[in-house]
Amino acid sequence: MLVTWKYRPRNTFIQRLDPRTRLIFMLCIIFAFTIPEIWDYRIILPLFALSLTLYLMARIEWKDVRRAWIYIFILVFFIVGLNGLLSGRGGPSSVTNLPSPVVFEVPIKIPFTEIGWDVPVTVSKIWFALNQMTRMITMAILAIPIPYTMDPNIYGTAFKRMGASDKVSFTMDLAFRFLPTFARDFTITMDAQRARGYEMEKLKGGIPTRIRKLAPLIIPVVMQSTVTGEEVIDAMDLRAFGTRQRTWVKDNLKYAPRDYLILGIGVAAFVSCCVLKWVFGIGEYFVPDFFMSLFV
């Protein structure tokens, strides 16, 4: 198994953007939803459209992201489903307990027991579920293309230029440097133990026993890495790391007009969500009439 960081240069608008722009824009959208707690579909939908547009503009191949999408859908269904089952007081989704017509009931039974109950699915719950999905996907799809479209060599510089310290920014770069190395070490260890007759597929016993039997895979990799660390510290000290303010040679990041455009949109989205919610009280959850009329 080789960790191939899936980055590839493509000639797209998205890749011409400054990496900082993309990170900041992503945070703007996430915070626009989560800080003022927006649940109004009239705000969610336009932002969803915006995210989806940027996602499509990144032009990543479907086969690269298929797995990611499957995961996201499972996650979303899981969350939405669980929410329906366990919903009680507190938190945003308690709004779904508002009196609202019941569409159908789902009988739930805990396997091997007699315990069970009927979960009423109301119009309000269905609409909330739709809202929830759209909102989560809007936030997720901004991050999915990043590994494919952002040069891993530029993260450190990007963080540095966003105000992080030399040391924290370089930690990021160093982590990228070691990622493929450790993936390879892990593979070699797995091969070496298999050559000694270790078969992961045949782990037997209770859960603690099975976890303990992972030790032959995990310990060599971790211990090797702690030894490597000491030498890397020497190597960095010997080249004067941390003795004064660093220069970042690849520091040629510059905002272009297109960056200001995207940043403007991101900041505007965040600010207007705050203003709408806190000044005008718009953004709360409600079931629109047209949806209600579908069922009543």
Partner: protein, 546 residues
Amino acid sequence: MPNQPLIIENLTFKYRTRPELALENISLKVNPGELLLIAGSSGCGKTTLARCINGLIPRSYRGERSGQVLLHGREVADMQISEIAQVVGTLLQDPERQIVASNVFNEIAFGPENLGLPRAEIINRVDQAISRLNLEYLRERETFNLSGGEKQKVALAGVLTMNPSILMLDEPLASLDPASAHEALEVFRSLADEGKTVILVEHRVEDAIDARPDRLLYMEDGKIKYLGPIRDLPPEIDHTKVKLPAPWVVQRVKALDKVPAATPKPEAGERGEPLVVFENVDFRYDEEYPLVLQNVNLKIYPGDLIAVLGPNGAGKSTLVKHAIGLLKPTRGRVLVEGEDTRKMSVAQIARTLGYVFQSPTHMLYAPTVREELEFGPKNLEFDPASIPQYVNESLLTVNLKGLDEYPPLGLSFGQQKRTTIAAVLAMRSKILIMDEPTAGQDFANYTRFMKALCDTSDNAQSILTANFAATIFITHDLDLAVTYANRVLLFGDKHIIADGKPQDVLKDDQLLRKYRVRPTSLLRLNLDLLPRTGRFLPAESLAAFA
């Protein structure tokens, strides 16, 4: 003279965690433009001395230091690390662990970046280092994918950008194929010719001679035993501790009048059924990657002692991994005792074939050596009553008796390596495969265990006669092939270039050079004496004929 780059006076050092002195009373003066070779067996204090020179001692390693280390007249302990870094450039043993950036350009620029130099100046220095070492073709590459030799050169470039006047090179040749090692030595020589002081740590004196060192510093137990021109090497410098050129060894042995009897090696030949068969094997790691093996045919017979030679990245490890079923051929098949590896699990094959991986740290995990050795036999579901016997026998053969209750992770590198070999021996396989068994070991140590594993004289209770039907080792050390193998495979260009007796394969100088193997003095001497000896012998035994 203030401009003397390095003066060491009465230097003594003891690590906080060790009772004994690591360095004792070292005094030394090195001149500009001098190339100083430091040799000595493992644990004699070479790396500790290097740490005293580059300031890691007393800065990062705690202990008691006395005496003086002066860089251009200034005491190291009083200098800022950023100042030292611009005087002493250090290249560590394992370039894999010295490289801190994902990409070559960033790696070379790392030092000047830390000094906070202006961008233009940094780029200028990087360009200079790149053209100095002819690395233009690597400039845009990822460091992860570089070969060992390329990594070493990039790490050196990263050191040169600091413009140091002293270069401190701690065993820089360990994982390189002979041709790459030679190229690296040429570079070190030319840096010395340009006026830099070069300090090269290497216990294989034979190889390091290529760099034409001005003086040799020989250490034992933290003390200087000899310092002077390399030609006048006094006889007390032990040829079993450091690797000396073969003619010198012969002289010494003759002078000491202790010529050992030559031990016969069994002849390789097509005896009985082959144990492993490769039939027209092609292999690639991924559909998008090129072939690594192409049309490989090979038969391994009982009695074979095979050395596999070839350049870095040729596919030697890939080849032997097929034998144990870790990799399955893309086309063709591999048979182990007549069965296709595709139809067997690795665990099944492990009963026939034991594989010792290159680095011991990749497999050691258990709290005691004994448990480490029991791991394989238990996985293979051996009879629990017989496991202790297997374990004890293996401990005995690699000379680890007494360490059985010790944690393997707390052992020295050489002991760890022997533990991994013992762990494989305890599985009682018929064939032993070792990937670069001598890398990172000192000369005395590896001679000892290679003898134990491959020596087949009648009285030696060797492992081979006890357990193994055949042994295969991959190596960059041509002398191992000369000394211990009865069959040599030269691997290159995706297939086996030559396969035969050592004296047949290794006599073709041109072929060897083409596949980056450099003839050594031992090989030359053996070829010269072949009419009289009839077979290849270790240097000591040649004394009887020369």
